[in-house]
């Protein structure tokens, strides 16, 4: 069995969030990404690896270079994550509306 990392654990790290922001603008090579940080190239590679494992980044081979870009599938996972929370509140508020409308009609 392959151990899958948690997407939310992946984005909890500020360096990894910065990498996502950088790559969101345009696809980048690992060395171009590493130039934005004071950490070693190895440290940045590790972060890129984690982001790729979590399907937040994907690789694209262009000639001899590997470019990293955002993986829409993984990013959608984060958006979907908030949806159940939004639905829960939406249902609660619909409830509130129904109950208070009933109360309003009694007042009239």
């Amino acid at each position: 069995m392959k151990l899958r990392r948690d997407v939310f654990q992946a984005i909890a790290d500020p360096t990894r969030r910065t990498i996502i922001t950088l790559v969101a603008a345009s696809a980048m090579t690992p060395s171009a990404i590493a130039e934005n940080f004071d950490y070693s190239r190895q440290t940045i590679s590790k972060h890129i690896q984690i982001l790729t494992e979590c399907e937040l980044l994907e690789q694209e081979q262009k000639g001899r270079e590997i470019y990293y870009q955002l993986n829409p599938k993984g990013m959608k996972q984060i958006a979907d994550f908030i949806e159940p929370f939004r639905k829960m509140w939406d249902e609660r508020f619909n409830n509130l509306e129904t109950i208070m409308k009933k109360h309003q009609s009694k007042l009239k």
């Binding site: 908030i82 159940p84 939004r86 939406d90 109950i99 208070m100 309003q104």
Partner: protein, 154 residues
């Protein structure tokens, strides 16, 4: 269709904002938040204590099949009728911790209003715990359904 309830949770932050537009006068939305009878109905909880005043406190308890499912409590810091409420909220025995809530009640027209709730958590991790709760619940439901289907097939 535009959604009536929106959640704005920026990545890397420890707060989130919930907005909702109601087809109700602002007074009635405020009432739904400040009278025990109505809180009990729309939140589906028992209201054990509710002191609607500055520095007052409250306690909710939700039961299902005679078992207490969850307890929540908090302190009301500031209350301006039909406009504003500042309170803390804590769901007991969860990793979410205490949260600070700024509720803003806004009149749009005579029968329409808008509620904006900004919730601040202790950290980004605490916010994630909150967001994961209904997500995990949804996953559980799906898992249980899957088990049901599988047990029927056996």
């Amino acid at each position: 269709m535009e959604q009536k309830t929106n959640i704005n949770a920026l990545e890397g932050k420890q707060d989130l904002t919930i907005t909702r537009e109601f087809d109700l006068p602002v007074e009635l939305v405020y009432k739904a938040y400040t009278e025990a009878e109505f809180i009990a109905q729309w939140m589906g909880t028992n209201v054990l204590k509710l002191e609607n005043r500055n520095h007052g406190s409250y306690e909710f308890e939700t039961s299902y099949d005679g078992n207490v499912m969850f307890k929540a409590n908090g302190t009301i810091h500031k209350l301006i009728p039909n406009q504003e409420m500042v309170r803390t909220f804590e769901m007991e025995n969860t990793p979410i911790g205490v949260q600070l809530e700024f509720l803003n009640f806004e009149k749009v027209t005579e029968d329409k209003s808008k509620l904006t709730i900004q919730i601040i958590y202790k950290s980004e991790k605490h916010r994630a715990a909150q967001l994961k709760l209904p997500f995990a619940y949804g996953l559980n439901m799906a898992h249980n359904k899957l088990e049901e289907v599988l047990s029927i097939q056996q």
